[in-house]
């Protein structure tokens, strides 16, 4: 029994690699395995076929409860062409297995991948790894000889042929895959029939080939409940919709196409109803400002973007801070600066989230740690926005956005209630309505147009307390700056007590992380602890304001390591807020941490403090 297996799918971006990977991930999850996935695709839509720049990759790890990441080195590398092999040839364990589509290794493909003339890349594969080569193109065209599909369409069924082969290897029930295919191709009978057929042929080939059925893989012991699979951006979108409904508010989303945030727009538009408006704006600024307009009108309003799009929304966030309207701003972080690495993951926008607005403009900042956690964090971000009358920044990243997981979905009835500060009517004392009169938590009332007797004006200018009338008076400005800061600090009332993942309260090393590095840190910590290393893992959901109990917890450890996919942004915050002499573990390559990198950092620091 293997405790986990890592499969890496790679091929041309036109080969349907992401679909193949996601389908396999869904079936593995459905079979009861814990699953984590990682998409590694090029920013180009159709880079020249067969070229290195056009290679798309999808890695997944499945197995028992020890699976927290998409894994590091692969056990099985599925390569659809020579370029894919060239790109990922070192991503496989030495004892790993290569499943190669030999039709993708012909002379033309070899040349496109940059192999020298006369060099046989498939021979190179065989020389290095245990290899099973199948001419997938030939197999599918033979299987589909009677199909009405064009040659090109037949060729596109290659991915389901490979899935057939893999489903045999891992003994996944065929019927599950077939129902996936039926849903996927419900609109075209010919495509449906062809994909079902090649899947069966692939499965049958497994039995006749020299591929032995793989050793059984451990299953997870998940908590009882109802499960489904979903990816991070989808979970995030559902969390926002759930919050609107629980708050009894209409929902508005303003977006503009940008990678990797666009899938939120795509998911939300699939849930459109009269009370859920999804708006594709003319630019990032309008997407954010239209959301502010909707918030003023009484909707739960959201805008989402990535990289440069978030920079463009900075001015609007400042307005939302000044107006004190609820707004969720989602940042699916990618590599920067500027256009940077659109399809790669990074955590380099933390300082921007905290301080990227002019003036003192504090906003609560939350970070989603995994695909399923994106639901909970989005729900909480929306709840804080509405209940505290503040814009909230919700950070995710390219890794979380695209990674698939099994989700034990909640019952709507069990989600926390969300209340609004909507006033019932004009003040009973006959005085004019005061839009900036705050409650004990610093929250102002959310009166919306149409409410009788509550007409009022709000704006971005300096304002008088209570009335919100324009005021440049020094004491009024100071009072408003302090009141907004107080309101954001009071968001801490939503926090759970800080606690390490493993339950440790003291020890030698504490690994602190935030956001999408959760799985990597958890996996590294578990493996180290199983070897007796004194290390614990703390993962922050609330990066601003930091929890008040953070300092005492950090001080209970010999050394605090802040691990993040940037050059040390949370590190600076933690050092300045807690005065703990924390050290950074940093990676800025557009890629997640590997377990080995984190283990190595812990060992080094452990040796230093001994």
């Amino acid at each position: 029994m293997k405790s986990e297996v890592v499969v890496l799918f790679a091929g041309d971006s036109g080969d349907g690699i992401q679909l193949m990977g996601n389908a396999f991930a869904q079936e593995a999850a459905h079979e009861g395995h814990a699953v984590r996935t990682f998409s590694d695709f090029p920013a180009e839509i159709r880079a020249p076929q067969g070229s290195l720049s056009g290679v798309s990759g999808f890695k997944l790890q499945f197995g028992g409860d020890s699976v927290h990441t998409p894994g590091d080195q692969a056990d099985v590398l599925v390569v659809m062409n020579a370029a894919a092999y060239k790109k990922y040839q070192n991503a496989l364990k030495p004892e790993g297995l290569v499943l190669a589509n030999s039709s993708g290794f012909d002379g033309r493909n070899a040349a496109l991948a940059g192999y020298a003339p006369g060099e046989d890349p498939l021979e190179a594969v065989r020389a290095k790894y245990r290899t099973v080569a199948v001419d997938v193109r030939k197999q599918v065209s033979a299987a589909l000889v009677e199909s009405s599909l064009s040659t090109k369409e037949r060729d596109r069924t290659k991915n389901f042929f490979v899935l057939g082969l893999l489903s045999w290897m891992y003994q996944f029930p065929q019927e599950q895959f077939k129902s996936f295919i039926r849903r996927k191709f419900a609109k075209s009978e010919a495509l449906l029939a062809a994909n079902l057929l090649v899947f069966e042929v692939g499965h049958a080939l497994g039995e006749t080939l020299e591929v032995s059925a793989a050793a059984p893989v451990a299953k997870a012991k998940p908590a009882p409940g109802q499960y489904r699979t979903l990816v991070g951006n989808q979970a995030l979108a559902l969390g926002l919709l759930a919050a609107a409904e629980k708050a009894n508010l209409p929902f508005f989303f303003g977006g503009y196409p940008i990678t990797p945030a666009s899938d939120i727009l795509h998911e939300l538009v699939r849930h459109r109803r009269a009370d859920r408006i999804v708006f594709q704006a003319e630019d990032e600024i309008a997407a954010a400002v239209a959301a502010i307009g909707a918030a003023y009108g009484g909707s739960l309003a959201v805008t989402a973007s990535s990289g440069p799009g978030i920079s463009l929304k900075a001015e609007a966030m400042g307005l939302a801070v000044a107006l004190e309207l609820p707004l969720v701003v989602v940042n699916i972080q990618r590599g920067g600066p500027s256009t940077g690495l659109p399809t790669k993951t990074e955590q380099s926008d933390l300082m921007q989230a905290l301080y990227g607005r002019h003036g003192e403009a504090p906003m609560p900042v939350l970070a989603a740690r995994s695909a399923t956690d994106a639901f909970d964090t989005a729900y909480l971000a929306a709840r804080i926005a509405v209940e505290c009358m503040t814009p909230v920044l919700l950070l995710s990243d390219g890794f979380v956005a695209n990674s698939a997981e099994a989700w034990k979905f909640p019952s709507a009835a069990d989600l926390p209630e969300i209340t609004t500060s909507r006033p019932d009517g004009p003040p009973a004392d006959g005085n004019p309505f005061a839009p900036y009169r705050r409650d004990a938590n610093g929250v102002r009332p959310w009166a919306v147009p149409g409410q009788v007797g509550l007409a009022h004006r709000i704006g971005g200018l300096g304002k008088e307390p209570d009335s919100g009338n324009i005021s440049y008076a020094p004491q009024d400005h100071a009072a408003q700056v302090a009141a907004r800061a107080h309101k954001v600090n009071r968001v801490r009332r939503y926090y759970e007590p800080s606690a390490c993942e493993c339950g440790a309260t003291e020890g030698e090393i504490l690994l602190v992380g935030w956001g999408g590095t959760y799985g990597s840190l958890k996996a590294a910590t578990e493996s180290l602890r199983s070897e007796g290393v004194s290390v614990a893992h703390l993962h922050l959901r609330h990066v601003f304001p930091l929890p008040e109990d953070l300092g005492p917890l950090l001080r209970a450890f010999g050394r605090v390591l802040v691990a993040e996919l940037n050059s040390g942004q949370l590190l600076q915050l933690i050092r300045s807020e807690t005065l703990v002499d924390a050290r950074g573990v940093n990676k800025v390559q557009g890629l997640p941490f590997t377990t080995d990198e984190l283990r190595e950092a812990v060992f080094q620091n452990s040796a230093q403090i001994r």
Binding site: Q226, R228, P250, A290, G298, P449
Partner: protein
């Protein structure tokens, strides 16, 4: 019967003494009173600039937003709250420079809202820089030897962006302005109203030709649907179309009569283009163009729902679930 004063807020108006904005505010408040507008259902939204202070002076709901973004805010507000009566107040810098993108997209979408663009051909609040409507050669604080930028003609820009309603009026003609505001308010869609507004501090007299008693008659061409284009003292002159070229003719010579003149048809897109571009000594005032096209927020509301789940629980479950016991 409500009066303009009933719609004035309790805030001190802080424009420079003599500013054209006072008149526009007065006419706006009067129009609200004439419409018997419900202050609880009326929202005035502005950007940044002298003109954009207006929401603070109107006793309705209001938002003084950020520079150039009022059309975007209004788009979100109207999409979610089509029950509200929403007005946009903006200026030449706000609408045509920093907010140009939002303006053109509001117009092409045809979001229902009158857009009152106070055009004073100058940045007033920042104390006198040239604006996107300043003329070539205009000397300002930031163009001491004269601006070289070709100005926008706002009506032409708006028409090019797909506006369904175009009007021009002026601060110093209260009755004309009120009529334009009424028409704009009644339009089902984006109603673009360019209002010539005198900045007596930084660009005084910019529109004297269209407001001074002695000059107005020869420069101010009133356009009224179904009526010939006549202007000048005692309607001494008219506008005829020579092909697609407008020409001024003297009606006192006996060669031409009012019957020969161009009859204004505010639904004619081609002629609206000629009027919108007419930007010389003689300029048209009134409703230049008014047509019906689907209103954006109504089209959005008419989209079929895509949600197939009938509850949150169904939405969470999606297409395929399994149970762990």
């Amino acid at each position: 019967m409500a009066t303009a004063n009933d719609y004035a807020s309790d805030q001190d108006v802080r424009w420079c003494p003599g500013c054209g904005d006072y008149s526009i505010l007065k006419q706006f408040l009067t129009v609200l009173a004439q419409l018997d507008a419900d202050p609880d259902r009326t929202v005035v939204v502005s950007g940044i600039g002298c003109s954009s202070r207006m929401p603070y002076y109107v006793n309705t709901y209001g938002v003084h937003s950020i520079h150039g973004r009022a059309p975007a805010l209004v788009t979100g507000l109207r999409m979610t709250r089509p029950d509200l009566d929403v007005w946009v107040v903006t200026g030449d810098g706000d609408a045509l420079s920093i907010g140009g993108n939002h303006l053109i997209h509001l117009l092409r979408r045809n979001v229902k809202a009158p857009i009152l663009l106070f055009n004073n051909e100058i940045y007033g609040l920042t104390k006198g820089q040239y604006s996107p409507t300043s003329g070539v050669g205009q000397r300002t604080k930031s163009s001491p030897t004269g601006a070289v930028d070709e100005p926008f003609v706002p009506t032409a820009l708006a028409l090019g962006a797909g506006a369904t309603f175009l009007a021009r009026s002026i601060d110093r003609d209260p009755e004309h302005l009120r009529t334009a505001l009424h028409r704009a308010h009644g339009h089902a869609g984006s109603a673009f109203v360019e209002i010539y507004q005198n900045c007596n501090v930084f660009h005084d007299g910019a529109f004297d030709a269209f407001s001074n008693k002695e000059d107005k008659a020869v420069h101010f061409l009133p356009v009224v649907h179904g009526q010939p284009l006549l202007f000048g003292p005692n309607q001494s002159h008219g506008m005829v179309l020579d092909g697609l070229v407008p020409r001024t003719v003297d009606l006192t010579e006996g060669t031409w009569s009012a019957n020969d003149c161009w009859i204004h048809d505010e639904t004619d897109r081609v002629k609206a283009g000629i009027l919108a571009e007419m930007h010389g000594e003689v300029r048209p005032f009134g409703v230049l163009y008014a047509v019906q096209r689907p209103v954006y927020e109504e089209s959005v509301a008419a989209l079929p729902p895509t949600e197939t789940a009938s509850s949150l629980d169904e939405m969470f479950a999606g297409q395929r679930t399994w149970e762990v016991l």
